[in-house]
């Protein structure tokens, strides 16, 4: 939907061009390995965690907020999933328990932000610590080994059956992205999310139930962090309370590279996913070409700043 400042096709040109440029660069440098089916499957699978987080974060950032608790929520969710499996629960129920843990963090964030009117940065900075602490307590400060059952298949790089081409988790990401993209652009909840980010007083005056909508927005972010935690468990088949430290920054970076504005009112799911893929491709390509990790960190840092600066320049001229 190309209306207003909501993600128009033009807004996606920049992030897409960036993604293609980076991919092309590695395709030229390491054509054999980078473009191999196995590596492309790897890239897709690696994107799932940041991609899921970015879907939820897009709602938060479009509404003018921020959610710093995502990394800790992922860790908590992976621990809860592992504990449930160790208790012998059905993998589906265990996955639901993990997602529910993320959802609980999100609802807690939403209620404090919307009702007590504390700024999102502070609230989620707090829950970032709380969720991490709870995860460590539940795990007894160690990694939880548990039989993954069929959950391990979710992130299998070469999936069974083979016609899936990529891991089931990648399909899950794609389906959820389409669904949440529709929610963001086509529903009243989505319109209200944009309206709150664009001008909260206007939304309030226009009858938008701001507090309720905000609670829902942070709940969505928490739920998707929870799902990312389940996937994180599926990938490693251990519940690790110290995993995903700083992951929220990757997620925020993906959303911002995708064209969202931290001052709210602008952004979209497609852009955020492109941003997530860009980050994975960069990490993957650097590893393949033997570029040291620190160079990779510097590159990602620069790309975030350049992406946002280019976007601002373009909007100033428009």
């Amino acid at each position: 939907m190309a209306d207003g400042k909501r993600a128009s096709v033009l807004d996606l040109v920049g992030p897409f061009a960036g993604l293609i440029a980076v991919a092309a660069l590695f395709a030229v440098l390491e054509p054999a390995t980078f473009l191999s089916v196995y590596n492309l499957q790897t890239i897709a699978a690696q994107t799932v965690i940041v991609g899921l987080g970015a879907i939820g974060m897009t709602f938060v950032i479009v509404s003018g907020g921020i959610d710093l608790s995502v990394g800790s929520a992922i860790a908590l969710s992976s621990v809860v999933t592992a504990l449930a499996l160790r208790e012998g629960w059905n993998p589906a129920i265990a996955a639901l328990a993990g997602a529910a843990a993320g959802l609980a963090i999100g609802i807690a964030n939403g209620i404090v932000i919307a009702r007590a009117k504390v700024v999102p940065f502070i609230v989620t900075l707090g829950t970032m610590g709380v969720a991490r602490g709870v995860a460590k307590y539940l795990a007894g400060e160690q990694k939880i080994d548990a039989p993954p059952g069929w959950l391990a298949e979710v992130m299998a790089r070469t999936p069974e059956p083979a016609w899936l081409i990529v891991a089931p988790g990648v399909w899950m990401l794609a389906i959820l992205a389409v669904a949440m993209g529709i929610v963001l652009t086509r529903t009243v909840f989505g319109l209200h999310t944009y309206a709150i980010g664009s001008s909260e007083p206007t939304a309030h005056l226009s009858g938008v139930r701001v507090a309720r909508t905000k609670t829902l927005i942070y709940a969505v972010s928490g739920l998707f962090a929870g799902l990312a935690g389940v996937v994180q468990y599926a990938r490693l088949t251990v519940g690790d309370p110290t995993t995903a430290v700083g992951k929220e920054l990757d997620v925020i970076a993906a959303v911002v590279i995708g064209g969202a504005s931290l001052s709210g009112g602008v952004g979209g799911i497609t852009g955020s996913l492109v941003g997530a893929f860009l980050m994975t491709v960069l990490a993957n390509g650097c590893t393949l070409t033997g570029v040291p990790n620190y160079v990779q960190e510097i590159l990602i840092g620069l790309i975030i700043v350049v992406a946002v600066a280019v976007d601002r320049l373009r909007h100033r001229q428009a």
């Binding site: 319109l191 206007t202 226009s206």
Partner: protein, 502 residues
Amino acid sequence: MITPSVTVLSMRGIVKRFGGVAAVAGVDLDVRQGDVHAVIGENGAGKSTLMKVLSGAYSPDAGTMTLDGEAYAPRHPHEARARGVAMIYQELTLCPHLTVAENIVLGREPRRRGVVDRDAMRAEAERALAWLDHSGLAPDRRVGSLAPGARQIVEIARAIAANARIVVMDEPTSSLSKPEAEQLFAAIDRLRARGVGIVYISHFLEEIRRVADRYTVLRDGRSVATGDVERADESFAARILEAMAGRRVDETYPQVAHERGEPILELDELTGVRTPERARLLLHRGEILGIAGLVGAGRTELLRAVFGLDAVRSGRVRVATVWDRGAPPWVRLGQGVGLLSEDRKEEGLALGLSVADNIALSSPPARFGFISTAKRNASAAALGARLSLRARDPNQPAAELSGGNQQKIAIARLLHHNADVLLLDEPTRGIDVASKADLYRLMGELAHDGKGVLFVSSYLPELLGVCDRIAVMTRGRLGDPRPATEWSSTSLLEAATGAANG
């Protein structure tokens, strides 16, 4: 006093285009030493663009400027300030957390060995304040704790301390009380005596008559009239209005017949946090009820309390047949009550959203939570046509439209919502003469359709011309409404200032 003869600032043939549109299309302006030069024009006439050219925020596409006889072409605001052009904006540009003295020297702090010389800073601030006869203003006070009038004085002191040659004031009295405005005028007289040239932008002809020596009228980006302010001449105001509008201004109020029906909104001793105080009011279907009063009398707060934007401390509200003790905006909208905010940019519109989304915001056409884009665009187009809204298409961001058209979007939202009670807070502020007439007609049509309109305005002629009944609000207290025919501008003003009851 210096004889006002030497020209300080001269602007010749200034043109500034945005895309294909010339916001300023040829303006000449001469400001002499010690003169207050009023720049008058409707919204969109090019005043603010012209001032941004003067202050270095924009570079002109054509034309020349001289300051004290030397070429003047500032590339950015900092350079303009260094050359002695000081701006005093409507929204004051002081830092509330800093002290008076810190604000006065901000950007030119006196230094000694690399650190701010606080003694020199205070001395400089005291000198400037003393010059303005405001030695009472403590340099160490935080600006955030000052009243609007005192902040205005700090702004002027800053201009004096910077040795400004030209001071530009943009609607400086808009947030001031009467005594504060008088204080400001006294300060202006002092600036004048110093030989500073003052560019004074204002809508209020009375105020211009009070302070200005010369005037220039802008219309459609051109300077169309300039001359001396003739304080005694009664026809002066009429001539200025004519120059502004480009035609004879008939202050006409299109009338649409409407009939008063059953009560639709009633207030019983409604009391807000500060104002209103125990307000009683009965609004009927098919009625336009005006509320007059001075700025700060609590009219906006009255509407906000009814609509649930401000807290209700006590009292009751009845919409149609249901009494309550205050309700949030989403409940009020559900009851068919809509509010048009006086603060269009901050509260009236989500500027980043499209025209259609803004119009549909309070009641988007949706089924199971999914919005119908086609229906949304269709109703936006229909309402746009009814209000002669000038927008490229419904998906254009609201930010790209002019002020008058933005106001139409905010009104279109109330129509889209099909509100039965319309709370309109200064709906004609900042829109051009033709759009005003459209809006008056619309209010008549709404009353004809059986809606109740509560119309807050500071412009007495429009209240008298449009309303069926008018109530006056004075210091938080709402008076009894009387038929508009029983009021006159004078009696309204007397009631508003409290002069009538002593």
